[in-house]
Symmetry: C2
Amino acid sequence: MRGILLLRSAHPDKTDWGYFFLNQKIVIVGLGLIGGSLSKAFRKYTDCSIAGIDSNPEVLKAALSCGAIDKIGNDEDIRTADLLYLCLYPQADIDFIAANLDLIGPNCVVTDACGIKSEICTHLPQMAKEHGLTFVGGHPMAGREKSGFAASDADLFAGASYIIVPCGAPQSAIDLLKAVAAALGFGGTVTTTPEHHDQMIAFTSQLPHVLACAYVMSPRCPEHNGFSAGSYRDVSRVANINEQLWSELFIDNQDALVEELNTLIANITDIKDAVAQGDGETLRALLRKGRQVKERLGE
Amino acid sequence: MRGILLLRSAHPDKTDWGYFFLNQKIVIVGLGLIGGSLSKAFRKYTDCSIAGIDSNPEVLKAALSCGAIDKIGNDEDIRTADLLYLCLYPQADIDFIAANLDLIGPNCVVTDACGIKSEICTHLPQMAKEHGLTFVGGHPMAGREKSGFAASDADLFAGASYIIVPCGAPQSAIDLLKAVAAALGFGGTVTTTPEHHDQMIAFTSQLPHVLACAYVMSPRCPEHNGFSAGSYRDVSRVANINEQLWSELFIDNQDALVEELNTLIANITDIKDAVAQGDGETLRALLRKGRQVKERLGE
């Protein structure tokens, strides 16, 4: 028996969400931090069967031996998949679908986990339309300052937001992703367009990563020990960046990111000028503005 | 009996540090986040008697009723204090000592908790020298995104660094502060000059606070919910700033902070230019540089 029953999730925090997966066939392409965490979460919280695909045989071996996947995925698994999760870099995701167009069945929902939607959502919905596939974009909003399968965790997504970018997908595919989010322990879903997604991510995720790298480049950084506390730790945390992946994501989102960086530089410069001029009144007004934004958000 | 015995600390994590306070008389001036936390930590981890001074009678009432202080401090307490902790804003600390010079005894160690040392360490060592007092600068490296006595906590300093800025103080006063650090659960102490302290703090603490305020001023910030995760949370955390205190600290440390802000703006601009030009090679090299600094630090 296969399907999605409106029963209780196996996730302990989500007893009221009412979804349960019965033996769906999941294929996860790319078992890095996100793909590995998704496979472990499907294993832990659902009854789905999970086939994993990865270019690194060591990763496949590790995923098999810890039970994160049931098997190494092959053409037959792609052919019979209910849900195909693309967890590679954006261009590699597009290339994977282009190379496997003939295998993917009409009942399979193809989704991705890319941090930026402009590239993916320009190409995949078009390819899906031309070849009778179903594609719905997705972005599980969780990460970690380490990458790779070794850092993956069944509970990486606990309480996180799952952004769904429909790109013209049918409601049933959107509902499937919502059911996935509920079963795997996400805190909720939001649905939006690729453009709005990328503008928001430029601010919420890409900007902090640029900042972390720019921050630790200060000549003072190597001597920080003994002189630092929580605020140093927080700003520098994600400087441990995967430069291949993030360069691609930054350049894919060039316009929105450059706009955010210009806004940020202008805001830092205003504060700097007030400090340099010893202008306490202007400085207090600027800091007050920041505090008030933060207070209004209440978080 | 009063004094410091080389016995075991009452702090559960610090059984090997070997200090114990016997009924020292502590006066804490300013029961905000730091002063309140110090008084609660002295209460929890030592046998000292604690007198508190604050301009707000409600704060004194709260501190008395929760047992953070034994009594409201008066002239006699200042006269007989073994350790006088200044926990006001920098200028107010200086004003307090100036107004109470005749009360403070020769055996009392005066210390402070200011985030910037240039102001304090220009005035207080000089006043101490002229009036036979002992002053040693200190900076407990802990904070919280809330301020005031209500946010204070006996364990705010657990594992934190305590920076000691001797300013010519005798070794016995420095040793006393090291004993305080050990007894109250700090992770360790470092000793440095006012100039080096302020340069390091411009980077480790002031820069993240400027950044947090500048970051949340983006027009995207109010819509972040559902599109954000850990990296947004970390960068924006300290935007909830006390603008009176931080404006004073920023302007007191004008030169070092402006230098750090210029370095940061230059580093952000380099990354921005590489993104804007779609120059993947330069971008990867810049991000790699950030990653390598972070990796070398191993934290």
